[in-house]
């Protein structure tokens, strides 16, 4: 018996040969697939040329990309060490240094000495270099004076006593440090040491071959030392620029002007709870809160307000859109309103609102209301009235007619027919679509904000334009992601309750 149900191999091949169309796709079909494949490939090649992608990618500044990305989660401290011709040094920090006005970090070890030097007064470029000692400060107006005085001063020789740095040791991490003393810069990284001679003017000379982490474009010019994630340094003839990178967001709570700056958390907590009033006018708690809100670098209050604007834009815009689309969709559905003219009018109106696009509406309403969330609300409202109206009318056209007929057959008024025969079927779909758009508009509101329609978009865009505030960008992105995820889950939860498990 088994022999008859199980054909031999030869028989199977014979069957296959008799019905080739079942086992092999037709040549037309295969040709079609191949043509689509070739078409897509040709299109990609064309676009590669059209956008000159290869050229742009080759010319991109990928080194900067790494730095920008690192800026998202870390910050640099940048001491500048000026070196005079006699090998003495002065350390200065940028005014906006994250370490505050008088930084004295423990990873910069300085050996100071008081020296008396003889200096030629008009040698302004040299004299103005060591910024740390205050006695040089009055030199600046002197140097700026006219030529006659300068000629006079040329012969004047001054003797001056000042405290200068004679040896500096900067420690990046355990295997990386830079030591500067007597016109020699000694950099150690990963077990290799590079010694460079600096003359205090404009020439740097490396002693021995450069290791892989050091680059110099031309002999005598500056040498760039890159230590990977721990930072980098630039050695010039008269200055060593240190860029030490630390993980984290600097001064996230208190900026350098705050009285709470630089204090450990325990001390801040005890100050707030039981400390003496720093500002006699108000309690320490309100001062601390105020300092956090108006943190100059992070601008928490501003960021939160703008984020709230974005949320409000999406919420109000979607709500109004669904309220207006609700009555109009009954007009557009051909099974509810039998007039073809009214159907077409409503549908083309929806198409118009949709096709003019949120972006164009945003630009127009920014002109009408001025920049701010009102423009964003109106833009979302106009676009989504079109989109929701279209979706609602499609949902109405797909309803089950039996319920409507049942209500009609007992002599209900037209309004009652809609209320009891139609509405219960479509209301969950309507609400679900509105929730879906609320959630997706939270995302779109960010982007139309960037053209001026209010919300966090513009702030985000401005933070990126400067190329130096990537940590603020990261902060805002994190807040946006949190908001989107929270709304995502709220809207998903609501929708699955409305629609049962089969939510779309």
């Amino acid at each position: 018996m088994t022999a008859s149900t199980k054909p031999s191999l030869l028989e199977m091949e014979a069957i296959a040969a008799r019905h080739p169309h079942l086992l092999q796709s037709s040549s037309r079909k295969r040709l079609k697939a191949a043509l689509i494949g070739i078409g897509v490939l040709l299109y990609m090649v064309f676009s590669w040329w059209f956008f000159s992608i290869g050229h742009v990618l080759a010319n991109a500044n990928w080194g900067i990309a790494g730095t920008y990305l690192a800026d998202w989660v870390s910050f640099e401290v940048r001491p500048e060490i000026a070196i005079a011709t006699d090998g003495t040094m002065a350390v200065s920090y940028a005014r906006s240094s994250p370490l505050g006005p008088n930084p004295n970090p423990d990873w910069v070890a300085l050996e100071k000495k008081t020296v008396t030097r003889t200096i030629e007064a008009p040698a302004a470029p040299q004299a103005s270099k060591p910024k740390a000692s205050s006695s040089f400060n009055f030199m600046a107006p002197n140097a700026a004076l006219g030529g006659a005085q300068r000629a006079q001063a040329q012969n004047r020789v001054e003797t001056r006593t000042a405290e200068v740095v004679v040896r500096a040791l900067i420690t990046y991490d355990r295997s990386t440090n830079i030591e500067i003393a007597d016109g020699l810069v000694k950099a150690t990284h990963g077990g290799e040491t590079l010694t460079m001679t600096v003359d205090g003017a404009d020439t740097v000379t490396p002693q021995g071959p450069l290791p892989r982490w050091a680059t110099q474009k031309r002999p005598g010019e500056k040498i760039t030392l890159s230590f990977g994630l721990t930072g980098w340094a630039e050695v010039e003839g008269d200055e060593v620029s240190i860029r030490n990178r630390f993980f984290g967001w600097a001064n996230f709570l208190f900026d350098t002007n705050s009285p709470f700056f630089g204090k450990p958390y325990g001390e801040v907590a005890s100050l707030i709870v039981s400390g003496e009033r720093i500002d006699p006018a108000r309690s320490n708690l309100s001062l601390a809160w105020n300092n956090i809100l108006y943190n100059a670098e992070w601008q928490h209050l501003d960021v939160w307000t703008k984020l709230l604007q974005t949320i409000v834009m999406a919420f109000v815009g979607t709500l109004f859109a669904s309220l207006i689309a609700f009555p109009l969709c009954f007009l557009a559905a051909r099974n509810i309103t039998p007039s073809l003219f009214a159907n077409q009018l409503a549908k083309r109106f929806f198409d118009f609102l949709r096709s003019v696009d949120m972006f164009i509406w945003a630009l127009f309403f920014t002109r009408a209301f001025g920049p701010g969330p009102l423009a964003g609300i109106s833009a979302i409202f106009f676009t989504d009235t079109g989109t929701l109206g279209k979706l609602y009318s499609e949902a109405l056209e797909n309803i089950d007619d039996k319920q409507r007929e049942g209500v009609k057959s007992v002599g209900a008024t037209p309004i009652a027919v809609q209320r009891f025969g139609v509405l219960p079927q479509v209301l969950p779909v309507f609400a679900s679509q509105a929730l879906y758009f609320w959630e997706s508009n939270t995302r779109s509101a960010t982007i139309i904000g960037a053209v001026g329609a209010g919300g966090i978009g513009l702030k985000l865009w401005e933070a990126m334009r400067t190329n130096s505030d990537w940590e603020n960008v990261a902060y805002m992105v994190l807040l946006i992601l949190m908001v989107v995820f929270i709304f995502d889950s709220i809207s998903n939860a609501c929708r699955s309750r409305l629609m049962g498990r089969k939510a779309h």
């Binding site: 919420f315 972006f359 002109r367 009408a368 209301f369 920049p371 960010t446 995820f485």
Partner: protein, 320 residues
């Protein structure tokens, strides 16, 4: 008769049923009322906040609501045609307002593409290119994220999280970041739109894959096919129509997205529109708006027609 029904004394269980029903009704009304009150309260608070933080106040600006229409009236109707097709204007005074022929893109010495058509093509091309890139990666990721094809949660979970992050990440930031590295041009826009597309399409795709019929896959497994063969011959033919439908939906959305990204620095027609509205060039603005409107409308209609052919009347839900 009616009075006799109403006045009938209810038994104890009947009264219980009636009371229970009344309680339920009252509670439902209370919840509806509370919900509505909460909604109204949130709405008024939101409106107050929006109005308060806006540059112009709603009621002050309402009379100026249609001011922008005034910005849109050119000196004569032909100006719009001239702006659209880069024809010289009789009002030309050397200013940017009437320099229509300047942006011509010459194919040969005499044959040119008008500036706005050229830029519109560029924007359209950005949209198509990034949708194709997004489909490619979304296609691969979707099979790794589908529960029925990837039982290992250690691969499925991270792939899904990755797609969520790609989807929720603000496009402005991606565009801005690549703008900083690559300098001006369409590539930041392409990067931003395609990265978002990967996340959005990946999610829609893997939901389609999870609803696929597993019988062909089982058959292939029975004859010893490996994972790739099972996916390629068992699942892909089933899901391809739905994938194509979502691809087209995404294309509609991406045409809009690449316009907006263009306005914030990605080039293309979006930037021109923002500039011409900002500088008050009526004819140019109208020409661009007409062009954009026509393009978006055409893409929408084309995609709706093709989708109807591919998957019938279902799958018309817009996904963003």
């Amino acid at each position: 008769m009616a009075t006799s029904v109403l006045s009938r004394q209810l038994s104890e269980s009947g009264a219980l049923v009636e009371r229970h029903w009344q309680e339920l009704n009252a509670r439902r009304r209370l919840y509806t009322f509370l919900g509505l009150a909460f909604l109204v309260l949130t709405l008024s608070a939101s409106l107050w906040f929006a109005n308060d933080s806006n540059a112009g106040k709603f009621f002050d600006r309402l009379p100026h609501f249609f001011d922008f229409v005034g910005d849109l009236v050119p000196r004569d109707a032909m100006e719009i045609v001239r702006a659209m097709f880069d024809l010289p204007s009789p009002y030309d005074d050397g200013s940017f307002k009437y320099n229509y022929p300047d942006g011509r893109f010459y194919l040969t010495d005499s044959l040119y593409i008008p500036e706005y058509f050229h830029k519109m093509l560029e924007t359209l091309n950005i949209a198509i290119f990034s949708t194709v890139v997004g489909v490619f990666f979304g296609f691969i990721l979707s099979f790794l994220a589908a529960r029925n094809l990837m039982p290992n949660p250690w691969i499925r979970g991270p792939v899904r999280r990755l797609m969520e992050v790609l989807r929720a990440f603000p496009e402005v930031v991606i565009a801005g970041f690549f703008l900083a590295i690559l300098s001006l041009g369409p590539i930041p826009a392409i990067a931003a739109v395609s990265i978002h597309t990967i996340g959005a399409l990946g999610k829609l795709f893997f939901e389609v894959v999870e609803n696929a019929d597993m019988k062909p896959e089982e058959g292939l497994r029975a004859v010893g096919a490996n994972w790739i063969e099972r996916v390629w011959f068992g699942i892909v033919p089933q899901v391809l129509p739905n994938f194509t439908s979502y691809f087209l939906l995404r294309l509609e959305i991406n045409v809009r997205a690449s316009t907006i990204i263009g306005a914030v620095g990605g080039g293309g027609i979006g930037e021109l529109l923002r500039l011409s509205i900002g500088q008050g060039h009526e004819a140019k603005t109208i020409a661009i708006v007409i062009l954009l409107f026509a393009t978006i409308f055409a893409v929408d209609q084309f995609s709706a027609w093709l989708r109807r052919r591919l998957v019938g009347d279902q799958a018309f839900q817009l996904a963003q």
